[in-house]
């Protein structure tokens, strides 16, 4: 065996390679002005190809990038996660088309960056080494910094980008420092080695390093998933970012961080359970409480969705405590459903604002039920799902999540979470009230034009998926369970 060049398995990083190539192709084609209109469709096509590549590998068992030092692994967990990211990106592209045209930000880079971000998220999901995790994280973050500030003429967009960049840079710093501590404790950045160090005898000093490392990693990841107390950026950034980007931010980037969190906490750090379980449970409850309570008083829709997304991050943190496969599977399931829901919610706003209709505050939605029945119906479905009312997928997701929690023995946490989700109904339903039960103040001088076809396609897809999964969740549940099967 050649010791200088360890055998590597290119095959194991196929999805990531396809995604990066796709992004590069889009970037190059985007240079030609005459292809401008076609770029989104090219992106869709390439994303679909990467999706097919990922689907093809499902169920084939884990394949490591290299036997000596695995770096990345292609298992069902990373593949399912990648598929979720791709689906999120496809929806984002669809709702972006008309929005980007209306704001004249329909440039090749926009879509290229989106796909780069997906490749970064996919890398994060597949990483089995802190280095590849960080690499993926930075690819994702840098793409997002640019995407958030893509509306150069818009002050809010710039403000959001700057905020996200500054805080994101801090978060990256925390993560790097945590990595350094973990390396110091175990002598390696590999997940397996760190886990082994945790499993064996360890001195107090090593223990402290490990704890410190984990703590700092949690700060960085907590920032990405907008966990309290690292959530403060969320409303401002969502409000400022181009709406489709906010949608992507609230689903994809959050999902990626969650996937890493599951891998870390469930398969690397179970040895420190006694330490992180109390910490995460308190933070999760705080996240749920802050998200839901502050959302109650929001009148700006994007800010409302931002706080709602904070609350949902809190729910998704809870089953980590159960430490069971069920718990992890329920998070994966929730992430899938959540992606569809949030894409739908932000998508409605994007589609509306692409037609020049204002949709910043609740007032702007007054009478939407009679002005735009289909759009209002979709938003209603999405909101009921976010609130967790059957027969929507949101209910199934919440049910599965809280069941996993109760089966793990955390009845009290489940009860607190459930009660706060009752609070959330108030603000979701308030939007429905405005749409259906308030007449428009004055007939808004809206463009009578048709809503963008691509945007409506995305929205209808989301709404149908929400209803379908709400009634027949079996297949998706199995997929989620299959995904976590390979996690130790």
């Amino acid at each position: 065996m050649n010791s200088a060049l360890p055998a590597i398995n290119i095959y194991a990083v196929m999805p990531q390679i396809v995604l990066v190539s796709a992004a590069t192709v889009v970037l190059i084609v985007g240079l030609f002005e005459r292809f401008r209109k076609g770029i989104p469709y090219l992106s869709l096509l390439l994303l679909a190809v990467s999706g097919v590549v990922a689907v093809n590998q499902l169920g084939r068992g884990p394949v490591a990038f290299s036997d000596v030092s695995p770096m990345m692994v292609m298992d069902d967990f990373s593949l399912v996660a990648t598929l979720v990211f791709i689906a999120g990106a496809v929806l984002t592209v669809l709702i972006s088309i008309s929005y980007a045209e209306a704001r004249s930000i329909d440039r090749g880079e926009y879509y290229a960056l989106l796909i780069f971000a997906v490749s970064g998220m996919s890398m994060m999901a597949a990483s089995t080494d802190l280095f590849t995790f960080f690499l993926g994280l930075e690819v994702l973050s840098i793409s997002l910094y640019v995407l958030i500030g893509f509306e150069q003429r818009d002050a809010g967009s710039n403000e959001g980008a700057l905020k996200y960049f500054l805080l994101g840079a801090f978060a990256s710093g925390f993560i790097l420092y945590g990595m350094a501590l973990l390396y110091g404790a175990s002598g390696s950045t590999e997940y397996d080695v760190i886990a082994r160090t945790l499993g064996g005898e360890r001195s107090d000093a090593v223990n402290l390093l490990l704890l410190g490392g984990l703590g700092l990693l949690l700060v960085g990841i907590g920032f990405k998933i907008s966990m309290v107390p690292f959530h403060a950026w969320t409303p401002d950034v969502y409000q400022g970012a181009p709406t489709p980007v906010a949608a992507f931010l609230s689903t994809g980037s959050k999902a990626a961080a969650f996937v890493v969190l599951i891998r870390l906490l469930v398969s690397v750090f179970p040895g420190l359970q006694m330490e992180w379980i109390p910490l995460i449970s308190v933070l999760a409850i705080l996240t749920i409480a802050v998200g839901n309570v502050v959302a109650l008083v929001q009148t700006n829709l994007k800010r409302l969705l931002a706080y709602s997304s904070i609350a949902h991050a809190g729910y998704m943190l809870l089953p980590l405590m159960a430490g069971s496969q069920d718990g992890s599977a329920s998070i994966v399931f929730y992430l899938i459903v959540y992606t569809a829901m949030n894409m739908g919610a932000f998508g409605v706003l994007a589609v509306l604002s692409a037609r020049g209709m204002p949709c910043a505050t609740m007032d702007d939605l007054a009478g939407l039920g009679s002005r735009r029945p289909l759009l209002a119906a979709i938003l209603a479905v999405v909101l009921f799902s976010l609130a967790g009312i059957p027969p929507t997928a949101g209910f199934m997701a919440k049910f599965y999540l809280f069941s996993a929690l109760v089966y793990g023995g955390y009845v009290e946490l489940a009860l607190i979470g459930l009660l706060f989700s009752g609070v959330s109904l108030y603000y979701y339903l308030r939007v429905v009230v405005w749409m259906y039960m308030r007449p428009a103040a004055e007939a808004p001088a809206e463009a009578a034009g048709r809503l963008s076809f691509s945007g409506m396609t995305a929205l209808c897809l989301s709404a149908l998926a929400i209803l379908a999964v709400g009634v027949f969740p079996s297949e998706l549940l199995q997929l989620a369970e299959q995904a976590v099967m390979t996690l130790p």
Partner: protein, 525 residues
Amino acid sequence: MTELPYLSLIIWLPVLGAVLLLIVKGDTAARWVGFGVSALVLVLFAVCFGAFEAHLGEPQFVERMPWIESLGVSYHVGADGISILLAGITALMWPLALLGTWTIVSERVRAYQVFMLLMETTLMGVFFSLDLFLFFLFWEGMLIPMYFLIGIWGYENSARAALKFFLFAVFGSLLMLAAVITLAFLYHQAHGVLTFEMAALYQLSIPADVQFWLALAFIAAFAVKVPMVPFHTWLPDAIVLAVVLVKMAAYGFIRLTLPLFPDALVELAPLMCAVAAAGIVYGALIALAQSDIRRMIAYSTISHAGFVVLGVFALNQHGIQGAVVHIVSLALSTGGLFLAAMMLVQRRNTWDMDAYGGLWHTIPVFSAFLLLFTLASVGLPGLSSFVGEFLILVGVFQQNILIAAVAATGVILAAVYMLRMYRKVVFGPLTREENKRIRDLSFRETAVLACMTLFIIWIGVYPNPFLRTMEASVQKLLVQTHRLAETPPAGMVPVSTESIPPADPAGPGGPSGPDATPEISQDTR
């Protein structure tokens, strides 16, 4: 037993109708679709009811198939004597209600029909579910159509009322959800299988203190919807659906709270009875002070709902049978009263009692129907409510004389506030000009109200078919409920034929109950 999946058809046909409604154009067509579908459901139900074998006491027309296997959830429906009666009154009321509100609802007609049909589906689902998860799904899913029905077609302040109702209901339901999950978990711990089958969960033995909390969680969910005092404050604003909710919530008590938590009931049942009795009097007293017809009906519903809960928690055959009959009769009498009032308000556009008076002279047909519904609500012997209230009081009397005495005052108060309303609206001089020009009922309206009247009189005069339908099921339920109780329960004797009070000889037509025993009829005097 049967070749067609009757129950599934009954449950899902309205959804098909709702989908069909999305295609049809025009208000009239939408009305016909809504009415047609609900009438079809009624026909299907009638076939089903005809084939129902009352003496079995077991769920019949059972359909079962795996649904979400990894969560242990199956699609399992079936009808026993209690559920078939409640589903029956739903099947009957729906076409009548749609017909009755034919012209009353003139805005967004299509959406109205869609939500009404969806609500019928969820109601039927609640009654027929034999799987706790399925039950919860329908239970919670019902909130969506209800929310829109209250919010869009309700009266003033309706958006606020809808929100208030939704929040109340959801908090109750979430507690129940936590309890449902815990139940499944406990079952999994004990038997190693994950299931939500009600029949399996009934067999679970749970420590008494855990039972207590779980029972409270279930009671919270149902008490909000019944509505029991002090969870009733949403009702006066959202009266439209009150009758429906009473039905569901009481069914929840009967189907779940009683058999699941027998030990907890030892402590909780007397408490529930006391609260229910207080609610009866409270509702009646407040109803007495209303001059708004709608609010008066709302508070009278609170009072009547107290009777239903009282009957259920008497935990004996009389009480429970009485409660079920009372629910059915409430749907008819209060439903009829409200429908009639809506017809009146459609003509005059005010709910204020004082704005009427002397209607007897101008619209005698309406006044006659209103009289009948009023008397039915009061509990006049020979009309439906009397049977229910009587049985409930007999049931409670065996448990606690004091509570029975307090509850009985509710009947008297009902007579006072109901007749006061009737006097103000119908009697007296015809002073107002606009009351003189008022139209009497149309043929359609007359038909709807007559149909309800028919059933009110039937139940009042000859309730035995109804009692017999549920007798075996109630007995089975009681065996289940008392499986661990130490003292042998009182009143386990079947009560179908022998203890029915005689109908008032002066009551409208029909023979008095042939098997009435004299000593019980004395109690009523």
